[in-house]
Amino acid sequence: MLKRVHFPSSPLPYLLVAPQLAITLVFFIWPASQAMYQSFLIEDAFGLGSEFVWFENFQVLWGDQHYLDAFWRTGIFSLLVAALSMGVALILAGFAQRVVRGAMVYRTLLIWPYAVAPVLAGALWVFMFNPTLGIFPYFLDFVGIDWNHYLNGNQAMALVILAAAWKQVAYNFLFYLAAMQSIPNSVIEAAAIDGAGPGRRFFSIILPLISPTTFFLLVINMVYAFFETFGIIHAVTQGGPGTSTTILVYKVFNDGFVGLDLGGSAAQSVILMVLVIAMTVVQFRYVERKVEY
């Protein structure tokens, strides 16, 4: 029989966790519950009073074509951001592993973009792609592309995807590089002796072996594209032209702080909250358990 060990109860452990609990309560639980509460209210036009309406705000959202469009747009946006940044990071990591000379410099340079603030990253891309001043529209003109992301919604979308993906490449690169370095060298050498060239080794050995990392990064990048690209979009397009780059977080901001529809905005943020919780659950369930290979 195992006897359970009893420690004398003491207030010390509670004291030690108190700061963390306080931070969670003040900065996470309280705002979240405020948002929840707010989402059940409708403000009057002058902000003088509000009415408790249960789920009316949510019902309105489901009927709102603009909102459904934003949902769809966010899906495409986040998938493309994830695919682009992970793809580029994977290629760079593959090369970084083969680099012998100057590996440190190469790796350090690749990690830099991660340290750039989102708004700055956005500003950078705005300058580069400015239809009248930018260098890229000048080059694109040669191949017959008339670049103006202030007018063309698809081009605006492409630009924010590019900027958002660029920012995330460094993060993905680090994880991919670590994953590749954790593959025993002898496995790669065995494949080389078995006759596999570099390309074949990459696709048949390395890629399957880093699949847990790919899955982890997919979730992380989706979450990133959903929530952390606000700064980039705000700096590059402000959600425009029209609503063509208005993704869900940007719509929350726009409806709430510009449109002053506080209840509707709160309802949207509650939906976003549910989404991120769902993604986190997926991540914990599958990533922590490791992808089967």
């Binding site: 050498e189 065995a190 002796i193």
Partner: protein, 356 residues
């Protein structure tokens, strides 16, 4: 027909030379063991043959063809790694078929070869398992299976048994030997274990600090070690070394004891200092023997008894291995004699064998 020829092979990492002018010829179907302590360059040499390390200078030829610049895949070799290096995401069958698929063999041919190899290695029932579901010994077999399905000209083994427990190691050692004899494929096997080397190899290449100390059959190495290093490395327990000098055809130990000297070449100057080597198992108990040991420790191994001690009247460690059980107390004295033809003489400066 795959003979391997190493000509003046050198390997440097930057300014550091780790292999110095290695020479060796391996004939077709021969089983060569490269043996030496860690860091002697044996794995580097093997990896150079495999094409996983570049050659700094010299030449490697397999079946008469210079392979220095060839990719590992173009050398027609198969290698078994120390950690097995199985592809963790593939089943045993896929692991073994990987190299064959790359060579675009037909499905039927691949299946036939994989199953044949699986039968030889008795791993047929594991074909659909993943490597992590196998024990160490089974993984070892899969790694060998992956090598033999390819039907290569040369097998390379990089300490394949060092991750197994002692009993399994002995068993796999025998199986590797039998398999190699059956397939008749030229093989190079790297190990630091001298027993493994002695039992497996047709010939042994003893490496020390990047130099080939000796390249010969196990018996040659045991009977006529070319240097102090080989003499001490081959045989267990290791050979005893005692300083001595030669005077008038007699061997005088540092304690003044006189031994019958082995045949010494005439040009070996009188009164010159030598290093005497004698194996523990060649010390024969003899009441009136000249070699007296002050025993300070006794190891009973059952089949024989090891007497550790000091040469009487000196501080030189000496071990004698006596067959059967010997009642010996620490602190007692035991006398031994040794046949002159079983004594080895080395030059104390160059540590090379003095031809006798």
């Amino acid at each position: 027909m795959a003979e391997i020829k190493l000509t003046d092979l050198t390997k440097s990492y930057g300014p550091t030379e780790v292999l110095h002018h290695v020479e060796g010829e391996i004939s077709d179907g021969e089983f060569i063991v490269i043996v030496g302590p860690s860091g002697c360059g044996k794995s580097t040499l093997l990896r150079m043959v495999a094409g996983l390390e570049t050659v700094t200078s010299g030449e490697i030829a397999i079946a008469g063809r210079r392979v220095n610049e060839l990719e590992p895949s173009a050398r027609d070799i198969a290698m078994v790694f120390q950690n097995y290096a199985l592809y963790p995401h593939m089943s045993v069958r896929e692991n073994m078929a990987y190299g064959l698929k790359i060579r675009k063999l037909s499905k039927a041919e691949i299946n036939r070869r994989v199953e044949e190899a699986a039968d030889i290695l008795e791993i047929r029932q594991y074909l659909d398992r993943k490597p992590r579901q196998l024990s160490g010994g089974q993984r070892q077999r899969v790694a060998m299976g992956r090598a033999i399905v390819r039907d290569p000209q040369v097998f390379l083994f990089d300490e394949p048994l060092s991750n197994l427990d002692a009993k399994l190691r002995v068993q796999m050692r025998l199986e590797i030997r039998k398999l190699q004899q059956r397939l008749g494929v030229t093989s190079i096997y790297v190990t630091h274990d001298q027993v493994e080397a002695m039992t497996l190899g047709d010939r042994l290449m003893v490496l020390n600090g990047g130099y080939v100390e000796q390249f010969g059959t196990p018996i040659e190495l045991y009977d006529r070690p070319a240097s102090v290093f080989v003499a001490g490395f081959i045989g267990s327990p290791a050979m005893n070394f005692l300083p001595a000098s030669i005077e008038a055809e007699a061997l005088i130990l540092s304690t003044g004891v006189q031994l019958a000297a082995p045949q010494v070449s005439a040009d070996l100057a009188q009164n010159s200092a030598v290093l005497l080597g004698v194996r523990p198992e060649h010390l024969v108990p003899d009441e009136i023997g000249p070699i007296v040991i002050d025993v300070d420790m006794v190891e009973q191994l059952g089949a024989n008894t090891l007497l550790h001690g000091k040469l009487s009247g000196s501080q030189h460690e000496i071990v004698a291995s006596v067959p059967g059980h010997v009642a010996a107390e620490p602190g007692s004295k035991h006398s031994f004699s040794a046949a002159p033809e079983l004594l080895h003489l080395f030059d104390p400066k160059t540590e090379k064998r003095l031809e006798t």
